[in-house]
Amino acid sequence: MGTYLDDDLSEIFTEFTLRKTPLYFSIILSLIGGFLLSTNFSLILFNLGILIFSSILIIMQIYRFIENKKIIFKQLIFGLIILMFLYIPLILPNQLSIPIDNIDAGIGKGFLLSLFLVLIGLFGVYINLSNLDKQNKKAKQASAYLYLSFAILTVLFVLFLIIGFIVYNGAGAITWEFITQDIQNMGASGGVFPAIIGTLLLGLGTALISVPLGVGTAIFLKEYAGSQSKLVRVIRTSINVLNATPSIVHGLFGLALFVPLFGVSLLTGSLVLGFLTLPIIIRSTEEALESVPKDIRDASFAMGATRWQTIRNAVLPPALPGIVTGAVLGLGRAFGETAPIMFTAVIFSGGGIPTSVFDSVNALSYHLLELTRLIGYKDVTQKAWGTALLLLLIVLAMNFLGIRIRKKYRT
């Protein structure tokens, strides 16, 4: 946790003064919360926690009063409001559950309240540390560090929870047969080979559509059009709108426009996914072009190069890694999408390996969706986890590839 904390914590804990009591109370409060998290929730302990919190507030108020008489009234009102809010969790229903078909993704109220106590406690620690001594920069530093560490640890915890959960459940399903065999018995047996192929083909199609369009647009925006022109602003707004459009809307759009033309097919899916990833590719290409120093453009122009010669020979080569990275990351997104393709490109079973772009395909993400729907009717739970893991691995691999490319060319 760094050297800061060691020093500062030792200073905070070695000299005991009455003034530090709210801090100690806050620590006790978060410990109680942590204890409640790990065991069963108890209303008595929760009330004890609230009691401790109230005393912290009162003690802090007294010190504030001694230091500065003016602010006491405002602070008191503020404290009372906080106290009122503390009891809000108690009105929550006992079980917060979200039933998805037959999976019950619920969490108990006790869990929420305990987490709430931990957070209040940590907040108290933070407030107290920074209030303890206004001059003590070390204390502030320590509290900020504590807070930031908590934030990043939470993020990492959640991330590893998700990945770990999927790996734990899905690893058993991944076998050679699972990867190479056709889908049988509505996914309950056999493998997901057509879905893997379908996902990869969709990715390829997406790339073929979005990369030329996206890179071209970005070059036009960055290199040709003046940054202030109306056209550019219109285009940019459109791109932002495109980016903000929910993926299901892309899917419906594809259903309405392309399906009548090309049917439910690889081509339609690629088109929809291509438009979906277009903003990502445009943005990342623009960034890559932006990162090419103006000096290099100037140098090229000063050699008597035309604008296109400059772009082709001086700007694109150094921007290429960035563009490729963006494209790869965009494809990672395309692999994971379900909503845009569910009406436009995929069918659940029997799709097999497409023979032309007008054939429908299967895809891992859609396969996963269908399998979760089947849970309870058929024994597909493990296959579903396996599919999820496979999809995660493909997306992670794409991201990893993107990062590697960027790293390789950055230095």
């Binding site: 290099i296 453009r297 100037d298 140098a299 090229s300 122009f301 000063a302 008597g304 080569p317």
Partner: protein, 268 residues
């Protein structure tokens, strides 16, 4: 006895007598509403080094960029007046800017080699110009690097990245790159300001040699550098040309009070 004024400036021709290779006539530049240059008239003598000095923001780089029309690339920049080169106004509508820039090359403040090999950097200009003959390119690369006094240092690493060279070598590479398209005039925008003193003095030596074959216009905020390398010096202040004289004259006995205040460091 009587006062006798000895004649001086024997070797340096007076500016009125020279035959300019580039001449600016009433050049004014606006950036949007802001006037960056006002009625600059300047004659640039052939096979000489002309230095342009002045405080930051006085418009010296702007003026330099007028000469090869690099200002065209800046949004909102507007140029008025004439720059005459080979009896032609460079701002005439029928001028081909790309081929103009091949005749009036430019070197920038920060060394800006392309992220390619040393060889590819030099060959860039000729290739852009449509030259593809390998042998001819080899010859141009060698010739340019020799002219830029870099050949001995890089002849064994022509195909390694230009970015691996030191800052001073990179800048000489940029000069060689500019020479590869055989310009008449070389514009230099503070070419040594980002370099250490040794690299700087190498560049200065190079500038001295270059004037045998080229006309050099150098913008610098380093007055000692201007004094060391140039034959004529122009002093720009707040977008106006204050004084343009032979360098010794300007640094020994400037005509204008403002010039004197600036070069002696007693400004404002």
């Amino acid at each position: 006895m009587e006062f006798e004024t000895n004649s001086k400036d024997k070797e340096r021709k007076k500016l009125e007598e020279i035959d300019p290779v580039v001449e600016a006539k009433n050049i004014s530049v606006w950036y949007g509403e802001e006037k960056a240059l006002e009625n600059i008239g300047l004659k640039v003598p052939k096979n000489n080094v002309t230095a342009i000095i002045g405080p930051s923001g006085c418009g010296k780089s702007t003026f330099l960029r007028c000469i090869n029309r690099m200002n065209d690339l800046i949004e909102g920049a507007k140029v008025e007046g004439k720059i005459v080169y080979k009896d032609k106004n460079l701002y005439d509508p029928d001028i081909d800017v790309a081929s103009l820039r091949r005749k009036i090359g430019m070197v920038f403040q920060k060394p800006n080699p392309f992220p390619k090999s040393v060889y590819e950097n030099i060959a860039y200009g000729p290739k852009i110009g449509g030259m593809n003959d390998k042998e001819e390119l080899d010859e141009i690369v060698e010739e340019s690097l020799k002219d830029a006094a870099l050949w001995d240092e890089v002849k064994n690493r022509l195909h390694s990245p230009a970015m691996d060279l030191s800052g001073g070598q990179q800048q000489r590479l940029c000069i060689a790159r500019a020479l590869a398209v055989e310009p008449d005039v070389l514009l230099m925008d503070e070419p040594a300001s980002a370099l250490d003193p040794i690299a700087m003095s190498k560049i200065e030596d190079l500038i001295y040699d270059l004037k045998q074959d080229y006309t050099v216009i150098i913008v610098t905020h380093n007055m000692q550098q201007a004094a060391r390398v140039s034959d004529y010096t122009a002093f720009l202040f707040m977008g106006k040309l204050i004084e343009h004289s032979p360098t010794e004259k300007l640094f020994e006995n400037p005509d204008k009070k403002k010039t004197e205040d600036y070069i002696t460091g007693r400004f404002g």
